[in-house]
Structures are given as C-alpha cells and as structure tokens.
Amino acid sequence: MADLLNLQGWLLVLLQTVLFVLMAPLLTGWLRLLKAWLQNRSAPSLSQPYRNLLKLMKKEVLVAQTTTPLFRIAPYVVFATTVLTAAIIPLLTVHLPTAAIADVIVLVGFLALGRFFLALASMDAGTAFGGMGSSREMTIASLAEPAMLMAIFTITMTAQSTNISQAIDFLLGQGLVLRPSFMFALLALMLVAVAETGRVPVDNPTTHLELTMVHEAMILEYSGRHLALMEWAAQLKLMVYGVLISNIFFPWGLALDNTPHNLLLSFISLIGKLMVLSVVLALAETVLAKMRLFRVPNYLNLAFLFALLGMLSHVILEAGA
C-alpha cells in the first residue's frame, strides 16, 4: 500500500503514460519503415504517423445524420480505455502505484471495453460496412480472448500473482530459466497480438475500401479528430501488446528502483526490445499473405492450443511431483 500514497510514484506513472502515448505513432512509423525496406519500396519518414494525426486533428468533423450521440462519444472512450491500459503496464519501471491497483485481468477488461464501444459505434451509422466490420471484430475477439487469458494464466501460475508488476519482479529475480510453458505462452500471445491489433495474416492495416477489411471497416464513417483518436488508439494498442510481450518474456533491463540512471537504462533496453520485436512482425507481414476470414478461427485455435500446451506443460513438467 505504500506505493499508493507516493507522490513521486504517481508523477512517474503520469510521465510514463505520456511517453507511452507519444511513442505509439513512432512504433507504427518504424514498422512501416521496416516493411517498406523489406518490400523494396521507398520508405515514408518516421514522423509520418504524427503528421497524419496532426492533419486529421485540424480537419473538420463530419457526422452522419442518422447517428446517435454514442457515435461522438465512442472515439473518446476507445482512446481513454487504451490509455488506461497503457498506464497499467510497466513500461520503464516495475513498481507503479497503478500496477498495485489493477492486475492483468483488468487490462484484458479495458481492452474488451474499448472494443465493445468500437463495435457499437461502427454499427451506429447503419452502413453495411460498419455492421460487417463489427461482426468480424467480435468473431475474432471472442476466439482471441480465451487464448490470451489462458496464456496469461500460465504466466500468473508461475509467478503466483495476477499482478503484472509482481509477476515481472518475480521473473527478474530468478534470472534465465528455460520454461517450456513460457515458450508456448509467448507463441500464443504473439498470435493473439497479431489478431487483436489487426496485422497482416488476419487483417490488413493499410487497406482502404476492401471487402475483407475488419478494423478499417469499423472506422469508415469517422473523420477529423474522431478518426485521429481512433487511429491513435489502434497504434497505442499495438504498442501495448509489444510492451506486454517484451517486458513479460524478456524483462531484463527493466528498472527495479526509480533512480534516473536505471530509468535511462530501462528506456534504452525497451527501445532495443521493441525494435527487434517489430523486425519479427515486419518479416511475418512481408512473408505471409492475408488469410481468408473463414480460416481465422483455425489460426486462433492454434493460439489457443499453444496456450493450452503452455498450461499443461506448466502443470506436468514444471510444477514438480
């Protein structure tokens, strides 16, 4: 409870969350840069996502006459829940007052809340594309969420806590241990992350007006600052999954105390981890083609199987006789 009343801790949370939100477009820009290099195209500059967001912020907001107030509220709700998710995750330092309040199940809940409002808003305007997009999104989410929770439970069973900062603390304390359950959980979480953030084998983030789109179909009716918030939230979600994966499975470098020297070191290691992780994602996106929608359940079954194997191998191989 000492963490809760610590003013310096709360300032650090604020700083870290702002950093998280500001870095998210940079990660997307870096990913686009990598993909352009891999596909032999000339790359857009790293600041292009920021410029897009700025441009959209300045533009006029057009709202269809058939919509209800929900349509206007949804972008703020989606953005706010994603920012709150980002606030829970240890980005630079492990001991945070927010991490003491909310555990990893709350994190999944925040993401689900955001998705719920996104799906509602996309149906609100009453266009065919919006309804199609939200039905697809919910199909994917209903299969991805059990896999994600299963993978997370595998980790929490090892760390014996659903609290992310305590779990990372535990993992940092024991050094390098080759756990088969973590290997499976990592695979499952990576597959789920690709599905949830709408990356290539499941959805194409660069598509516009295509029959197979999922996320883009949902935000088709949005314009101006509403669209900017929706896109920013999507970029933030990608960053949330990236940081979650790199800081749980490769927690080395994360600061255990809040001295400036350790925080700087933690920042540098975070940049390194995210850069490597996005190389993996960019390679996968370049090599793989988008799947048919009807094959997505098979893909997510695979993720669930990995998560299940992770849990089984934790019980059978690691828990001991």
Partner: protein, 234 residues
C-alpha cells in the same frame, strides 16, 4: 522440486520434451501428407537431441549411441523412404480431410491430461531428474494412436505408427535411461524392415483399389461389383 533450481541442461531436457509433444500435435494437425512426414522427421531429430541431452545430464555414455541410431534412422532414413514413396505414388499434393480438426486437437489435449493422471504414481516412484517427462512420453504414444485412428490414408497411418514407436523409445529413455543395446538394435532393425514392407504394401493397395484410402478397403468385394458400386456412387 523447484523448476528454477534445476541446471540449464536439465531445463533443456524438459524443454525438448515439450517440443516433442508439440511435434506430435503438428503431425496431428497437418493435412498435407508431405508436411506430416516432415513433422515426423522433426520429431525424430528432437527425440535424438533429447536422448543425447539426457546422456549428457545423467552421464550415460551408451545413450549417445542410441541418439545417433535414432537420428540416422528416424530423422533421416525412414522419412526419406516415406518421402520417396509419396513422390513415386504421386500423392504429394493430396490433402487429407480430417473429420473435425478442432475436436481432434482437443481430444489430443485431453489425452495429455489423461497421461499425466496415469503417470503420476510412476513419477512418485522415480528419482530421476527426467521423471516429469514420463507423462509427455506416454502422451506421444497415445497421440500416435490418435493419428492412426483419425487418418484415412495408409501412409499417414504409418507415420502415426512410427510416432508411437518414437514415444515408446522416448519413454524407455526417460523412465529407465534406455533399453539394453541388443533390444534397441533389434527394434531399430524391425522398424526398418517394417518401413520396407509398408512400402511394398502401399504399392499393392494402390494396384488393387487405385487409392491409399483404407476406408475403401472395408467395402472390398468382387471386381465386377466394385465397378457397379462406383457407377452407383457417381
């Protein structure tokens, strides 16, 4: 026993056990025949690696010989023979329909849990560092049987059979640090002969019913009637 207190090599043994289980699942889920054979070859590589690792950890030099034997036989020779047969029979691009893939995978997961339950009393008697992997090796045997049950093509059934043998060999290695060399050599030789005989059988089945789908063997009747039946079906 605390997992984190084990040495890195012992953790490697357990990690390999998990990978062997994964390769069994890969075989079960593959619908292409060649991919299934490749998964079997990878399982052979992993079993050989696990055997060599156990030889290192438990200081049992005779297991190195078993590892070399397993690698050359189950990772190279048998997959190569099966691969050649598939190419010769021109069924390399055939896709096999498994009836309900998601259900089969869940059944396999249930088999893993079942073999954990079965192996628990055995594990309590053992003092070896590898005792936790006995359940995994039993699961590999059971999943091999499941592959044989769910497949229709004769060749994937043979892959399932070989996978059962992989599981039995692995059980012997993790439970008692391997069988006597004579037995091991005998089993290896049997397996090699079995592969050759299976190969001959494939060509015979193919020559008589024009397919490797063994479901069609159950309605084997006299030639003239078969022709009528196929006409009726069409």
């Amino acid at each position: 026993m605390n997992f984190a207190q084990l040495g890195l090599q012992e953790q490697g043994v357990i990690l390999l056990a998990a990978l062997i289980l994964l390769s069994s699942f890969a075989m079960l889920a593959q619908s292409r025949i060649l991919a299934c054979i490749h998964a079997f070859a990878w399982q052979g590589v992993l079993v050989a690696a696990a055997t060599a690792m156990i030889a290192l950890v438990a200081n049992q030099p005779h297991l190195y010989l078993s590892a070399i034997l397993t690698f050359s036989l189950k990772a190279l020779l048998i997959p190569w023979v099966l691969h050649r047969i598939v190419i010769k029979l021109e069924i390399a691009h055939e896709v096999e329909t498994v009836v309900n893939p998601a259900l089969v995978i869940l059944a396999a997961a249930a088999l893993v849990a079942f073999s954990y339950y079965i192996a628990m009393p055995v594990e309590k008697l053992s003092t070896l560092a590898t005792r936790n992997t006995i359940a995994i090796s039993l699961a590999v045997v059971l999943i091999g049987m499941l592959i044989m049950v769910t497949r229709r093509q004769a060749i994937t059934q043979v892959v399932g059979f070989m996978s059962i043998e992989n599981g039995l060999f692995y059980t012997a290695v993790v439970a008692t640090h391997g069988m006597p060399m004579v037995v091991e050599l005998g089993v290896a030789f049997d397996l090699l002969v079995a592969t050759v005989i299976f190969g001959v059988f494939f060509f015979q089945i193919r020559a008589s019913i024009d397919s490797l789908d063994v479901d069609r063997l159950s309605r084997l009747v006299e030639t003239s009637e078969i022709d009528e039946m196929t006409v009726e079906e069409e």
